[in-house]
Symmetry: D3
Subunit: 312 residues, 6 copies
């Protein structure tokens, strides 16, 4: 049963994601487990009375098999487990019901990606892109694009990248006089690649934190470094390597948004706007989805604390 549908008095059983867990002691000295379980539709408080393990804080982020009842405590629903255990390898459940996943057809998206890489006429740029994809295909096509702000779901990075590449194709044609399409396309494909090194990703595919290198170096610098190495290894020219690095290093547009250098060629400048558009439109999608027609959303931190309007 979806957590958005539970009501006081119901029985509940099934597989859920254990978001938080801590072993505690009641005033009366009895051990219990307090935590949160979640699926794609909601989150609810969990209590397991007279329980001292083995499930504990260490198991946050894992899937549990739960059986119990729904009650109300201080005006909010909570669930009390009669039985609870960690999911096993041979358990049969649908992860996509528990963890948010990008709304895309994976095979179709990979085909679109391949087609766009294929259409590059510049061999050097195509080679780097193909080589990067070969190195990291699984991670690149699986991880979210963010911890929470936007595209914070499985396959999020792929969805973000491919959508941006389509926009890049269109604009490269429209502003053909000032843009090198293949440079723009390759820069767009590679811009967030190093997020695969920047994020810690849990068993279920969501971002739980930043890696130490991600925090100390950032995905812009790490991305530029790997692209430089791959260019050298594949015999791609130094000028191409330099331009690709420049696009990756500058794609946040402004220093205060994290750009290591300012965009200084048309493709780099444009990449920063394409990135802005795709991330912003995705935020609108996620926020308006939860807003009633004719009403304003709550304040959205990632959009300068604005409240967004959902018109008819």
């Amino acid at each position: 049963m979806n957590l958005c549908d539970i009501q006081t008095g119901m029985n509940l059983s099934g597989f859920y994601l254990l978001k938080q867990a801590s072993l505690r002691t009641t005033a009366a000295g009895k051990p219990y487990l307090a935590g949160l379980i979640t699926d794609r539709t909601g989150t609810v408080e969990l209590k397991v009375w007279d329980y001292s393990g083995p499930i504990s804080h260490e198991d946050e982020g894992k899937i549990v098999c739960f059986q119990g009842r729904v009650s109300e405590f201080k005006g909010a629903l909570q669930v009390t487990a009669d039985r609870i255990r960690l999911a096993q390898d041979n358990d049969n459940y649908d992860l996509s019901l528990l963890v948010p996943t990008a709304p895309l057809d994976l095979q179709e998206t990979l085909r679109e990606l391949d087609t766009m890489l294929e259409c590059m006429e510049d061999e050097g740029y195509q080679t780097v892109c193909r080589q990067m994809l070969r190195r990291h295909q699984r991670a690149f096509t699986t991880i979210p694009a963010a911890k929470s702000v936007h595209h914070g779901f499985v396959h999020g990075l792929l969805m973000h990248t491919v959508t941006m590449m389509k926009t890049a194709m269109f604009l490269a044609a429209q502003y053909g006089e000032v843009l090198d399409r293949d440079l723009l396309l390759a820069g767009t494909f590679l811009h967030d690649f190093a997020k695969i090194h920047e994020f810690k990703v849990s068993q279920t595919g969501l971002v739980t934190d930043y890696t130490t290198a991600g925090q100390l170096l950032g995905h812009l610098v790490m991305g530029a470094q790997e692209v430089k190495e791959v260019c050298a290894a594949c015999g791609v020219s130094e000028e191409r390597a330099m331009l690709l690095q420049h696009m990756i290093l500058s794609h946040h547009g402004q220093p205060e948004f994290g750009a290591a250098v300012l965009p200084q060629c048309a493709e780099a400048e444009l990449l920063s706007y394409i990135d802005l558009i795709d991330s912003r439109m995705e935020i609108y999608r996620e926020v308006l989805d939860k807003t009633e027609v004719g009403a304003f959303s709550d304040r959205v931190f990632a959009l300068e604390n604005k409240r967004l309007f959902r018109h008819k």
Copy 2:
């Protein structure tokens, strides 16, 4: 002869734009005219010795018929007129050689505009756009989009608007889930419309200054007001009128860039980025056109003083 080709010692005759003019007196007490003449390829200093009129400061921005010689003064070229007079109605010269004009096919662009307006399915939005175009077709399709920063040439506003509408069409399809295509298209069409009221335009079609209302009210507020009136006159719904006004008022994105309100719906947010992209790509086009391959441009004031790189 194009002014970019003149050299010391040449004779020069033809029609040029009188950019500056002032009547003065030499140390020896003789009257003369000092000024600048210009065409699309360059600008050069003008001297007319023993001259006390009728051409004067009042004639700046007009076309003159010139005959004289090229010399050098303090390391720079200058031209000395033997004869000079204002162009007459029956003079035969090509204005497009003197005044910068948008690089577009006017009829083709108008057809593209018409097609995009036609494809709107929302009658209300289409009606406002058609009505605004009917009211101001000549001005809208003729004036520049700016005094100098970008699209500062004849038909510049049309070129800017139509290019943006094409991007709007593409992105409305790509992000169909969050965008109302017709609202986006109408807002894009109307966003800079009131520049026809904001600019003073000279005889030759270039912007010479801002009008008083343009300075005191701005094209965002004036544009929203006219759209509101037209909506009321045409029976377009108040909600549509409100949304269109919101898009016009917010299309500069941030208060410090002149937005009267912050964008609060997806179409308004996106419009501000489409505007940014088109103006920035045009600046790149104009600047890189004057930059050698492999070199950096001078600092570009309108792009945060950056120097732009022209790669191969």
Copy 3:
């Protein structure tokens, strides 16, 4: 009894404003109502046990007739109702004890307003002001000037406007060389007028939220539009209409404080300072009123988080 005077164990009955209300269920499955009641002197938690309506969330902002007892829960007072019902039309209670009201003599203030409008020598400016007042007299003289920051009480907008007009009269005389008194006076009278369209006002006269148009267009733009229409309808000159619009559009002084354009004439610049002074002095009045002599207030969000000092 005033809510600031209640103590544990007292009986309490009377009319109060129902600020919040929600119907809930206890752990034992019994329905109850939880909420807040308030008067001008304080706010206290409300509980109605074994209650399932008719009063509910929908009735927030209305007046209730209450009878019950005061107790203490977790260190704070709360009231438990024995009987509770919505106030009826024929109920006899003093709204001004429940809702904060401007500390002014309404008739006297209206007379002062009339005198200042009367003293305008410029017929055009006087006409617009009179016409705007005629259109909206009830709303203009009743609503607060803000949701909470300052003048957030009944008649607040009138108090704010009239006080500012007095300052305008004084400064127009003092700086007569650079100021057109009637323009300054008219601009001051009209500057916040469109708050009557920007706010949602509850039955009791307080602001509960912004209207959709208020949020998407703002009271500056809406005010300028209505003034433009009224000027046209009354035959007031376009220059006057333009200057009044400019004053309304620029009265927040800086873009980051919401000005749609920068003040560009002396009257507009001065209006922004008069507005600043009146709002700031009112914030000081409200904050220092709750601060002991010789002490500092808590941090005041609307005054850049400063703590204010109340000297002897």
Copy 4:
């Protein structure tokens, strides 16, 4: 003759202010003096051929007696001296024609000041003000309020201070509930007093530069220090001394405008706005005076580079 009225070919003689002077040598090896002379109406280039002294760079800021002719050089007027000498003590000229002076009646203004000081009911505050005036009457009533931005003329500080005190009187009455009139009045009187220590003032009464202490400590800190000393010397209470210091130290309102601390009581906050109003209205007066009706001024550096509009 006023310098605004001179024309090529005229003879010119009289007393003028020597604004700049430097002794030079022509290409032919002859010594000459080049400089600028000025009066209240204008400034013109000066040449004295075959001249090697005694007037030199050291005499800038002094008055000279001049006799010569007006000619034109490179499109601008210049004057060539036949005879030139420094003015002597017994020379008879009207300094007020050469140096800009505040547009006020000095005796009347001093009477107004005295009346306002007299009306203070708080003996402590009145004592400090009287004592400061006694110490520095001549300087306080003579110097400009600034080098150039506003009130940059003789008696400028007095004019600025007295006008502000009148506004303070009005607002203290209007906001009597939150303001201590005598504190506001005393703080206003004293706020810029230390400009007498901050400025270097030339023989003719204009500010030529900052003193070293003015630059390193600023008039806010120096003013607060002297007020503290005077309070101690006159037996004024420490709380009064502290509040007056606070007003002086905070009267620039914000740290980025030079405030040493943020205003934290109502009188200090208000003083910063009264100061803003008086300086801004004076800038408008000076700029609009040179602007045609219906036109915009040049950009005004001291008003965030705005262009100001002069309406009818």
Copy 5:
């Protein structure tokens, strides 16, 4: 027993610092005391049932003698007192176990301070420093350097000042060409001196709040004033007094960090960096001390909300 070591079920007795205290009434109408006790190792909630005094809110910041038990309430530990009383003069406890104290040898630090003052060759600067120390030795060597941000412990100001003076000695030697060592040393010694007037310090030596003068004038201005007075009293030259004042007034570097004037000589500029270094290194010390090796700290408000990394 240290509070960091207590566990549910233990008995606890000893002297602790009473951080918070408030007398309350239970739902059942019984009086009790709720509060917090603290030592250098931790803080825990306190309950004293059936207690109505004499200890109350007034005694916060004092030492109490406590005897009772440790229990758990809502997942957190709390202590319940059987007996509690204020510490007496003849009680025997180690204050340094209850209140954080600078990690330094007091006598050794005072000797180092004396040596550095002694090495000044400029008699004037040495005289001021010696005189200031004589006036305020006890306070200067005892109080913290801050309420909480850094050096918020007993002797903190002394530790901060002496460490900075050592750095000043080193840099004065290294940059001897541009620096006057004695001015730098004296300015460093005096820069935060007026914190003795700016802070309210409790019985136990910690900062509890700002004084009114501290809030309204700040330690920069108060420090400069006292140094000026002492210079005058000791016959130190006005230039030295001015330079010392300048260093104190500017040592926060930028107006937005509280500097009353910008640093304008090399010693003042350098002082602001030495201050920055010492305060930042101390924050790192305090934060990293609580961070595991290989991990990042929580966000540190005083360091622009950064998370700090503790490497091996």
Copy 6:
């Protein structure tokens, strides 16, 4: 003869740096060379009449052998060449008289550098530093540290680096509890290393411009990349490589000053301050050197436009 000593009428001959040169034509049609020659003491205008080459614009930045006379033109000195030619390899002149050079003993400085590298106890950090020095010894010890702001002279980068390392040694000892001395020392040594790739350096050793890679990637990113490669090549651990990269990438402290990431460990934070101190003290040295005692300098662009005071 030093250019600071020339006077009208003198003969002048010797070797000078040709700073600017352009071939022009007089009004009379005769060719000439106009330019600037410079030595360490000054700069003067150059004219070579009847000259059409071979020296031209292309030779800017080279040394010329000059023979001619000093005259005065429009109040400024200029030199007219009788003979001029480019310096040859076998010419005998002292380059250090023509080009500004760091005030240091090169051998002594290199010894100091070696000693500090030697004292590192961490083999990994020492290895990277030694290897970087081996790769680039000539460039690193020769080039300036900047184009003009500070240390803009031959050996400037070496001087800047070694001075900073001495400060690092001192502070690593002083704050030993939070600092890893060897990491700080290595980071300091390496922080600006990639300026050897970022600058174009002329024949005479001065910086003339940025390289394309310098402009598009910056010395922070390029430096981090090379250090990463060298670490990998030398078998230095990944954690060391990461920390060194972090220090290089963050050493500008804030994004708006060019930092690619914020400093997040104590050594990185401190490095940014040591860099600030050394660059600022050098600017003071260079500016005060040209300022009279008791006076203020002109505004210094690199120090937020401040005027600096030179006290006794």
